[in-house]
Symmetry: C2
Subunit: 346 residues, 2 copies
């Protein structure tokens, strides 16, 4: 089967490797029909994170059809259409029960890799996989795109909003205009925010954010961007900030625009400097966030919201590629030619 | 009038200074009847924080009788008996309205000093002061002690529990067995925690914590203390940790015992090292806390709980002193001869 391979900075190639097989009674083998490139995949592609050359791709978002399951898997069967999360929550540990399956306590290997492939082996499949009613052929391409966001970015944007305690009437700032930031706008709207300020300098991303429910756009950054947000919030700062990048500059933006006693929900992988523990303390800022509770949110609210047409996060996929075009899919996203790259796999 | 003066490490003296007068239309002049020494006062007394020699005392907790009010103050009048918080919330800014009057946005000077005195000037008095029904003579010494804790430590312990989202059934760990930690035990119980583990090495403090509602005591520290807590919580770690010290070691204890997806409510003034922003992220730890919402909590729940006898936080005052004995009051608390030193002022 074909699978993407990370070669080095700026280069991802395609390779023929063995089709995966069941290794454990909790495994599922899944034929991938849609996958994609994540903003987090770009840290290594852009050379900002080190990663072993000629190594398995870091893809971790997919839709697929169950091919085979291990003997302990009873929740899905061959032929089922599933959302394949980047997480593998067990559903019964204290963390999962508290709604944090992104940090499941049942096993160490809770994160997925290798999804930019024709087939994948998904461990701890029993609770984590999210079954979609019917067959994949029943759904439009637009619906497939939205379902695919439920493997990561929509759930991750929702995690930013949930951990930042967004509630009806809140003034919310979203830092980061990529797919996760766009989904965070959708999430803030779902949770009743009355003002949603997107910090973005790119016209296509500003437009999508406005379509998703943003009420204001701030293109400025640094001190100027902070001043503008403070003014837009009536001088108070934001009740909640959804930090969807993880860089030092975006963290500083988030700290600068949150009001005293406000919440920051972080979902961008942290790449910033060490923080003085007093920084958040003397302003009573709550700093929350981490790997998203994908399965929990999908089963609780997001799958229904997508299937009902209440939300349409699939619009973050602005270009589609075949698996053969994998490097272009990475490159266009790194170059901001697409907000998020869809991989149509057959 | 007499007022305590910080001289230098290990020495606080008493001085005769002018009685304060109204400076602003929002001021109140208060005759102090009870004050005390706070754990935070000890940072400078113990030489761990620098502080100007021969400077105003850092006392910020008092009960008193209103002597005079500025022309804009309508909520209290001469003769009223009041709890005097360490904060000065305005009650109408976005932070105060969100329940964070400890970080009121109305003015920069939100914190009190100088309360170890016969009289004090309290700025922004209109909303922040907490009126107690009747006269101070109506109350027993035990009740006065409990009312005094509402100027800081009981509200601060409650803030730790509230910002750590303690809810019915939670497994809670309290780090710090001083007055704030003891009050945090009371708060965790009020909020319905089913397990409250106090980390303490001192018999008198262990006993008080058990009386206040702690279900378990862990005397060990470091890796051993963490292992013991993890075992006591059934292998999961705590849902919420109330960090009531602020030192590097106590912060590490808190991080070590919290479960993935858990909450840390911090109320000890942070004196620890800079933190890697990924530390809390990859375990989805919510780091919250800061200066307590004293007036909010007093008016919302704590004053009633004290007056009804539901809670008796005044037991943290294990020794009483006159203002003349101010240095002994500091010294005994620094030497752990008393949990908290009460000052009876006349």
């Amino acid at each position: 089967m074909k699978s993407a391979v990370f070669e080095n900075k700026g280069k991802v190639s395609l390779e023929e490797i063995s089709k995966p097989t069941i290794q454990d009674s909790g495994d599922a083998i899944i034929r991938v029909i849609r996958a994609c490139v994540c903003g987090s995949d770009l840290w290594a592609y852009s050379g900002l994170d080190s990663k072993e050359t000629h190594s398995v791709n870091s893809g971790h978002e997919a839709l697929g059809i169950i091919e085979e399951v291990g003997s302990d898997v009873t929740t899905v069967k061959p032929g089922d259409f599933v959302i394949v999360p980047f997480t593998h929550g067990c559903g019964h540990c204290a963390a999962c029960l508290a709604g944090f399956d992104g940090v499941c306590q049942d096993h160490e290997d809770n994160f997925s890799v290798g999804f930019q492939s024709q087939y994948i082996r998904f461990a701890y499949a029993q609770w984590a996989l999210v079954k979609v009613p019917g067959k994949s052929e029943d759904y439009s391409e637009g619906m497939l795109k939205s379902l695919l966001t439920l493997s990561d970015v929509m759930a991750t944007g929702y995690h930013a909003a949930r951990t930042a305690h967004v509630k009806p009437g809140d003034k919310v700032v979203v830092v980061g205009d990529g797919a996760v930031g766009q989904c965070a706008v959708i999430a803030a709207k779902m949770l009743g925010a009355s003002q949603i300020i997107m910090m973005s300098r790119h016209k296509d991303r500003q437009d999508l954010a406005l379509e998703f429910g943003a009420t204001d756009i701030v293109a400025e950054r640094g001190a100027e961007g902070i001043s503008k947000v403070i003014a837009l919030t009536g001088g108070t700062g934001a009740d909640a900030v959804l930090e969807c990048v993880g860089a030092q500059a975006s963290t500083e933006q988030a700290m600068g625009v949150v009001r005293p006693g406000g919440f920051i929900g972080r979902v961008g992988l942290p790449h910033g400097k060490d923080m003085n523990p007093a920084t958040t303390f003397y302003r009573n800022i709550t700093l929350a966030g981490g790997p998203a509770s994908v399965t929990t949110y999908d089963k609780e609210i997001l799958l229904k919201a997508v299937l009902d047409g209440q939300i349409n996060p699939g619009k973050v996929f602005t270009h589609s590629y075949s698996l053969d075009e994998i490097n272009q899919a990475y490159k266009d996203m790194a170059d901001r030619k697409t907000i998020k790259s869809l991989l149509v796999i057959d």
